[in-house]
């Protein structure tokens, strides 16, 4: 579900929260005096896309390289290779020794990291804007000429396995998501974990990573996003000079791997060392599709159901005291310690709407699951109030102003839109379209997409930890 990042200390954010790009902790002004500056996009002769957003509030810039390849582009047996390659991108080029990339960026006063998700792999530096040329030179170099010795791969693979142990194997809910995901999707490559199965990591070879790199890291499959105190003409010149040197190659064809229609409830029990039970319900729903006319200023024309589902999630769980909290976690006979709702909305693969909850002491996961379903059914029956609808819209609109304070998240948002084939003015289009979403539309999606036939229900059965049990590590013979 989440994305994996190369280094933990620079960001505790393990998820790439697409939803919060749109909604979430930044809220906004109905007055539009300070709409964002326009975004410029152009393509180099070799096919690489460049996206520039000028913001001169401070003498800093964010420089990101997005490659439209993630775990969904892997094949069975080498799951996790997109993420392993992301780690190896720090291990050198013919002119740069292992670790030297990071030392150079640090010497520039920069901060850097990288991440891999199901949809994309991203690399970024935040820098004083007068250092832009130097990071463009460095990033273009490794994009075109990543190179390292097998010994470097062997060591870094151990680091990645530690990352998997830290984020997944010692987190009962992460293990549950991983297992539930693997039954929610059958044909879609979304069924596999971003970090990869442990046995695939154990069996991964240096050439697996090199082959993946050669196949997918081609200019036409990448975009450079730069936001901050920069000049568009200057960026164009630098992009042509550095990224323009990468040799043009065709983007490999992608197999569609369409998820077949689900025709019945899938249910999974999962045991893990924990104290609290937990239940999640994932419903297959439409994601945001690129509008037919993607030209800037062409207006809205997204599929309205995807947007209405996001409004539904906000009505259920978008603010303190929203419907799920009231119905499930309050009162003398409350069912849950917590309850939530979220809508996927954006991704290259099939999306899900997730309801989840932690049963209160003495209550069962089934009771919580039923109550969650009932809350959606209530909206399907009676709709939502105008006050709720207005509240959700107010929060969303306010978030657009707050977003202007965070340069890096703006760059990240633009990159995510590009990766997912959405227009760069998606923010504006969504806001414009959001204003016309009606209670009837929210009611309609609550009725349309929440049949049990579309549901995967995953149930965490807590097991007492057992200090005496044998360590859950692979037998020595399986290790490299």
């Amino acid at each position: 579900m989440g994305s994996f990042i190369r280094f933990p200390a620079l960001s505790r954010n393990t998820l790439l929260p697409l939803l919060s790009l749109l909604f979430g902790f930044f809220l906004a002004s109905p007055a539009v005096a300070q709409t964002a500056t326009p975004v410029t996009q152009f393509q180099l002769a070799n096919g690489l896309t460049v996206i520039v957003k000028t913001d001169r509030r401070a003498p800093t810039a964010a420089h990101m390289l997005w490659v439209r390849v993630g775990s969904m582009d892997e094949v069975d047996g080498t799951t996790g290779v997109a993420h392993v390659l992301e780690h190896m991108m720090f291990k050198g080029t013919p002119s740069l020794k292992p670790g030297e990339f990071s030392r150079r960026v640090a010497a520039l006063g920069g901060r850097e990291n990288a991440f891999t998700s199901r949809d994309a792999t991203g690399y970024y530096q935040q820098i004083p804007s007068n250092k832009l040329e130097e990071v463009m030179r460095l990033e273009a170099d490794r994009f075109a000429r990543n190179q390292w010795a097998d010994e470097e791969f062997a060591k870094e693979l151990e680091v990645v396995k530690e990352e998997r142990r830290l984020r997944t194997e010692d987190s009962p809910r992460a293990l549950l998501y991983e297992a539930a995901n693997a039954i929610t999707f059958v044909a879609s490559p979304y069924r596999r974990p971003v970090v990869g199965w442990m046995s695939d990591l154990e069996a991964m070879t240096p050439d697996d990573a090199r082959a993946f790199y050669r196949r997918w890291y081609v200019p036409a499959n990448a975009a450079v996003v730069i936001a901050g105190d920069v000049d568009v003409a200057q960026v164009r010149r630098l992009a042509e000079k550095y990224y323009g040197a990468a040799v043009s190659r065709p983007v490999p064809p992608r197999k569609p791997r369409i998820e077949p229609v689900q025709t019945g409830l899938r249910r999974m029990d999962f045991k893990a060392p924990a104290s609290q039970a937990y239940v999640s319900l994932s419903y297959k729903v439409p994601g945001l599709q690129s509008p037919a006319d993607a030209a800037p200023g062409a207006g809205e024309a997204f599929n309205r159901d995807a947007l209405a589902l996001t409004v539904l999630a906000a009505v259920l769980d978008g603010y303190s005291g929203a419907r799920l909290e009231r119905a499930l976690t309050q009162g003398d006979n409350r069912l849950a310690d917590s309850a939530g709702a979220s809508n996927g909305l954006i991704g290259r693969g099939p999306q899900v709407f997730v309801l989840d909850g932690v049963p209160a002491a003495g209550k069962t996961a089934d009771q919580v699951a039923d109550a969650l379903r009932q809350q959606v059914a209530l909206i399907a029956r009676e709709g939502v109030s105008e006050a709720e609808l207005k509240r959700v819209k107010t929060q969303w609109v306010a978030s657009e102003t707050y977003k202007l304070d965070a340069l890096f998240s703006q760059a990240r948002g633009l990159g995510a839109y590009w990766v997912n084939g959405l227009p760069l003015d998606t923010d504006e289009r969504l806001i414009s379209q959001l204003r016309s979403i009606s209670s009837a539309e929210v009611q309609a999606v609550a009725g349309r997409y929440f049949s049990d036939d579309q549901l995967t229900l995953a149930n965490l059965l807590p097991q007492p930890p057992d200090p005496g049990r044998a360590k859950r590590v692979p037998a020595a013979g399986l290790r490299h």
């Binding site: 200390a9 906004a28 030392r103 062997a154 102003t401």
Partner: protein, 438 residues
Amino acid sequence: MGATTIFYPMFSWAAIPVQHWTQPGGARVYLVESPAIAMVDVQLDFDAGSRRVAADQAGLAGITASLLSKGVAARGGEPALDENALGEAWADLGAQFGASAGSDRFSFSLRSLTEPDLLGQAVRLAARQIAEPAFPDPVWQRDRQRMLAQLKEAYTRPAYRVARAFSEAVYGSHPYGHETSEASLGRISVADMQAFHARYITPCHARVSVVGALTRAQADTLVTGLLARLPQADCAAAPPLPVVAEVAPLERAQMISIPFDSAQAHVLMGQPGYKRNDPDFYALTVGNYVLGGGGFVSRLTEEVREKRGLSYSVSSYFSPGRHAGAFTVGLQTRPDQAAQATGVAREVVAKFVAEGPTQAELQAAKDNLIGGFPLLIDSNRKLLGNLANIAWNDLPLDYLDTWTDRIGKVSVAEVKAAFARKLQPEKMVTVILGATSQ
């Protein structure tokens, strides 16, 4: 440069114009005007962190903060608002408001648009929450049940278990080491919250930081409004708050091994560090960048992760506060590698304390810290954090303007001497949780 930009610089960057004044009611206000975006961020800090709570009520400060969003009392013809009404009201304003407690500070934060009608309503609502919390007992009874369940769950997680054992060993009986427990939760009542709030949340002790599209006059009005409903006292006549004891140094090394069934062993190593007003602050900041704070390029990362592949995450940090917060080295590794990884980390720390950084390492640290300075202040939110730091720690108003110079003056000898004064590798606590018994 670009002719069509709408944004203009936050300020001239030659100097960051911090404005500061003290209100008649006692509140110390710090302001940076940032007019580009029609929004404002505010942080109010009070000397009411968890260090002011007795051990048998550990958790009271944080719980008082969380209960502040669970309802306000009726007063002066205004009706009471319960937790749901408050949540709706904030969402309807498109604004955000919250309270939290750390070891030292009890903080309120407000983010709002500056459109006058919205901001006025947000300030009035925040003022009620700051001064007139209802502390409803049924809500506390419910939240206590939830916290007990979360605590029980936390005991099954290796990161929580190791942090708790480390904190208790480093801090001993000092309040920095008090941990919320089933027993302390059982002892806390809403009357305790009321008393805690009444005692510590007063304008006399308020430090208020404001960053946003407001003038000084507007900021002063905003702060007055936020504090208007608190009882106004004669600050000169108010008795000072009680002194909290200092953290005691460790007398000897301690090794704590905790059996645990997890995919990784978790290791924490350290000791009490230093107080924020310590004159070694800059040398320790530069030194820790080299040792374990500098992301990919630190010594710990190089030795533990890059050379040996032993851990995904390894770092060191100080946590200076009103008292000597801990120096902490942390890593996680496969259970059978715990002893090896701990040994490598310990050796790196001991060598650094004994020898200090090389001249090249010192230069690399300065290049990053000084070169990257603009990244510390390039948004309102980051500026607010810096401003609150100045406010809380009584730093000079030109603190940010002189910061790079102060970093630039640090020498190898100063780093070495500062680390030798602050760290005693032979007396550190080491907690290893979940290692394979060898």
